[in-house]
C-alpha cells in the first residue's frame, strides 16, 4: 500500500461507491506487485545497483591497487575474496567491475532502444517504401550473427574504448524492437483516435509521440530491461575473448578474461565474477518477465 498507488481495496471501498478509473500503468503495476519473482528481482537489482554506485566508498581497496605480498592469495580478512594474479583485491574489483558492467549494459540498452523506436516508429507509421526499405535492412542485419560482426570490428580497431563497446552493442541489436514497434504501429495507426488526431491537423511527429508511443510503452520497457541483461552478457563475452573493454578497466567480463590463465588452479577467480554476472542477469530477467506479464497479461505480444 505504498503512497501514490491505488490499491484494489481503496478502489472498491470507495465511499461514494464509484469505481475509480485506473490508468493502464497503474493496472500493470498492480499485476507486477503480485509476481513474487519480479519483486525478488527488484530487490536483487536494488542491492546490486546500490553496491555498484557506492563502489568507490565501500570497496576495501582501490580497483588497480596492487598488493605484491599477496598474489593469488586465498580469501582472508584483508582480502575477503582473495587476490588475483597481479595481487589486486578481487572484492574491490568485483564492486568496481559491477559498476562498469552495469553502466555499459544500461547505456547500450538506451542506444538500442532509441534506435529501435526510431526505425520502428517511422517504418510502422509511414509504411510504403520507407517501411519496405527499413524492414529489408532489418532482415539483413538479422542474418548476421551479431557477435561475429562485433568481434571482427573489435579486432579491426585493435581494441575499442568503453564507448566503442557501448555503441557497437547498441547499434547492432535494435532490430527486434524495431520489428515489435513497427507491427504495433501498423495496427494502431488504423484506429479512430489516430484518425481523429490527424483530422485536426496534428503533425506526424506529435501523433507518434503523444498518441502512438504511449501505447507500446509496455513493449519498450520490457525489451529495455531484458536488453540490459543481454548486453551485460555480451560485454562479458567480448571482454572474455579479449576484444571488449580495454584491459585494466575492471568489468566482470575483463575479470573473467584475466582468470583465463589460471582458473583451473584458482577457480575462485572465475567463479566470483561469473556468479555476480549470473545473479545480475537473473535479476533483470525476473523483472523483465514480471513487467511483460504485467503489461500484457494474456501474452499476446509474446
Amino acid at each position: 500500500m505504498s503512497a501514490g498507488v491505488v490499491t484494489l481495496d481503496e478502489v472498491v471501498g470507495n465511499d461514494a461507491g464509484f469505481v475509480q478509473a485506473r490508468t493502464p500503468t497503474q493496472l500493470a503495476w498492480g499485476r507486477f506487485k503480485r509476481s513474487r519473482l519480479a519483486i525478488m528481482g527488484v530487490a536483487m537489482l536494488a542491492v546490486i545497483i546500490l553496491l555498484s554506485v557506492l563502489a568507490p566508498w565501500i570497496a576495501p581497496h582501490g580497483q588497480n591497487e596492487i598488493d605484491l605480498f599477496s598474489i593469488k592469495a586465498p580469501p582472508s580478512r584483508e582480502h575477503l575474496l582473495g587476490t588475483d594474479s597481479l595481487g589486486r583485491d578481487v572484492l574491490s574489483r568485483l564492486l568496481y567491475g559491477g559498476r562498469m558492467s552495469l553502466a555499459i549494459g544500461i547505456a547500450a540498452a538506451l542506444i538500442c532502444t532509441l534506435v529501435g523506436i526510431f526505425f520502428g516508429a517511422i517504418a510502422g507509421y509511414y509504411g510504403g517504401w520507407i517501411d519496405g526499405t527499413i524492414m529489408r535492412f532489418v532482415d539483413l542485419m538479422l542474418a548476421f550473427p551479431s557477435i561475429f560482426l562485433l568481434l571482427i570490428i573489435a579486432a579491426m580497431f585493435e581494441g575499442i574504448s568503453v564507448w566503442g563497446v557501448i555503441l557497437f552493442l547498441g547499434l547492432f541489436s535494435w532490430m527486434w524492437l524495431t520489428r515489435i514497434i513497427r507491427g504495433e504501429f501498423l495496427s494502431l495507426k488504423q484506429r479512430d483516435f489516430v484518425e481523429a488526431a490527424r483530422s485536426i491537423g496534428t503533425p506526424d511527429g506529435q501523433i507518434i509521440r503523444r498518441h502512438l508511443l504511449p501505447n507500446v510503452i509496455g513493449a519498450i520497457v520490457v525489451t529495455f530491461t531484458l536488453d540490459v541483461a543481454l548486453f551485460m552478457l555480451a560485454e562479458a563475452g567480448l571482454s572474455f575473448l579479449g576484444f571488449g573493454v580495454p584491459p585494466g578497466i575492471p568489468t566482470w567480463g575483463n575479470m573473467l578474461n584475466e582468470s583465463r590463465t589460471d582458473y583451473l588452479s584458482e577457480p575462485l577467480l572465475a567463479v566470483v565474477p561469473g556468479l555476480a554476472l549470473t545473479l545480475c542477469v537473473l535479476a533483470f530477467n525476473f523483472v523483465g518477465d514480471g513487467l511483460r506479464d504485467a503489461f500484457d497479461p494474456k501474452g499476446i505480444r509474446g
Binding site: 542474418a143 579491426m156 582468470s259
Partner: protein, 316 residues
C-alpha cells in the same frame, strides 16, 4: 509447395548479396591486411610490395575488386588465408566437421532434455518438478555460456577428474568413445541455453494442447497417458516449437565460438577466434558468409518443416 520453395530461395538471394556487400566493405576498411603484413617484413622493398599488390589485385579500383570478389564468391572461391596460405574454403572444410559434430551432439542433448523436462513439467504444472526445472532454466538463461563451460571444467575435469577438459582426441587412446568423452562437457555447455528456453516453451505449449477437446476424446476412448502424450499432444506442441528452435541457430553459432575456445576444440569457432587474433580477414569473411548462409537456410528449413507438420499452414 515448390512455388513456395522457389519464392523463398529467391528471397534469400538479395539477403546473401547484402551480406556479401557488408563483408566486402568490412574488409575494405580493415586496417592491416596482406600488404601491411608483408610491408612489415624487413627485406620488403617498395617495388616488391607493388608487385605483390598487383598480383593480389589490390592495385585496382574498389568497384573492380568488388566485382572480382563477387565473381570468385559465386565460383565458391573465398580467397586464401593470409596466415595459412591455403584457400579459405579448404581451411573451413577442415574445421567444419568438428563443429558439426559438436553442434549435432549438443542439439540432440538439447532436444532430448528439453522434451523430457518440458513434457514432465507440463503434466503437473506448478508441481515440484515444474518448479525445479523453472529454476534451472532461469539460471541456464542467465549464465554466460562460456562461464558455464569454465565451471564444468573446474568441477568435472579438475576436482572430480571424470572427463577431459580440452581437445577432441586423446592421442594415446583414440577411438569413438574417447571422442564422445571429450564432447560431453562442450556439448552440455552448448545445450544448456536451449534446454532452458525450449523446455519452458514445450511446457507451456503442452499445457495448452492438453486442454483441447480432442485430448479429452483420446483419453475418453481409453488411450493410455503415454500414447495420448506422444501421439496427440507432442505433435501439436512440436509444430510451434520448430520456429522457436530455428531462431536459436545464430545462438548456436555464437555459442560455438566461445565453447570451442574454452575447450580448445579445433572447429569453426576456434578457427574464428584464432583468425581474429591473427587478423586473417579472408578467413573471417569466409566464416561470416558461411554462417549467414547457414542461418538463412536454417530458417528456410524451419518454415518447411513447420508447414509439413501443420496442415493448416498454406504455402501460398
Amino acid at each position: 509447395m515448390s512455388r513456395f520453395l522457389i519464392r523463398r530461395l529467391l528471397g534469400a538471394i538479395p539477403l546473401l548479396f547484402g551480406v556479401a556487400v557488408i563483408s566486402f566493405m568490412l574488409m575494405q576498411v580493415a586496417p592491416g591486411g596482406p600488404d601491411a603484413t608483408y610491408a612489415r617484413s624487413p627485406r620488403m622493398t617498395d617495388e616488391r610490395l607493388q608487385a605483390l599488390r598487383e598480383k593480389m589485385g589490390l592495385d585496382q579500383s574498389i568497384p573492380v575488386q568488388f566485382v572480382k570478389w563477387i565473381q570468385n564468391l559465386l565460383r565458391g572461391d573465398l580467397g586464401s588465408s593470409y596466415v595459412q596460405n591455403r584457400p579459405v574454403t579448404q581451411v573451413i572444410q577442415d574445421a567444419f566437421p568438428n563443429t558439426l559434430l559438436l553442434v549435432t551432439v549438443g542439439l540432440i542433448l538439447a532436444l532430448v532434455f528439453a522434451l523430457l523436462f518440458g513434457v514432465l513439467a507440463a503434466v503437473n504444472p506448478y508441481g515440484w518438478f515444474d518448479n525445479v526445472t523453472a529454476l534451472i532454466s532461469y539460471f541456464g538463461l542467465a549464465m554466460p555460456v562460456f562461464w558455464f563451460g569454465l565451471m564444468l571444467q573446474i568441477l568435472f575435469s579438475v576436482k572430480l577428474g571424470w572427463l577431459p577438459s580440452s581437445g577432441l582426441h586423446d592421442p594415446q587412446n583414440p577411438g569413438v568413445l574417447d571422442t564422445l568423452e571429450h564432447l560431453v562437457l562442450p556439448a552440455v555447455t552448448l545445450a544448456i541455453g536451449s534446454i532452458a528456453v525450449w523446455s519452458r516453451y514445450i511446457r507451456s505449449s503442452t499445457i495448452e494442447t492438453l486442454q483441447h477437446d480432442y485430448v479429452r476424446t483420446a483419453r475418453a476412448k481409453g488411450l493410455s497417458d503415454r500414447s495420448v502424450l506422444s501421439r496427440h499432444v507432442l505433435r501439436n506442441s512440436l509444430t510451434s516449437f520448430i520456429t522457436v528452435a530455428a531462431i536459436d541457430i545464430p545462438l548456436y553459432l555464437t555459442g560455438v565460438v566461445f565453447i570451442e575456445t574454452v575447450f580448445s576444440l579445433p572447429g569453426m569457432g576456434r578457427l574464428f577466434y584464432d583468425s581474429l587474433t591473427r587478423r586473417d580477414y579472408p578467413v573471417l569473411m569466409g566464416i561470416l558468409m558461411f554462417s549467414a548462409t547457414l542461418i538463412i537456410i536454417g530458417n528456410l528449413i524451419a518454415d518447411l518443416i513447420y508447414a509439413k507438420l501443420d496442415p493448416r499452414v498454406s504455402f501460398e
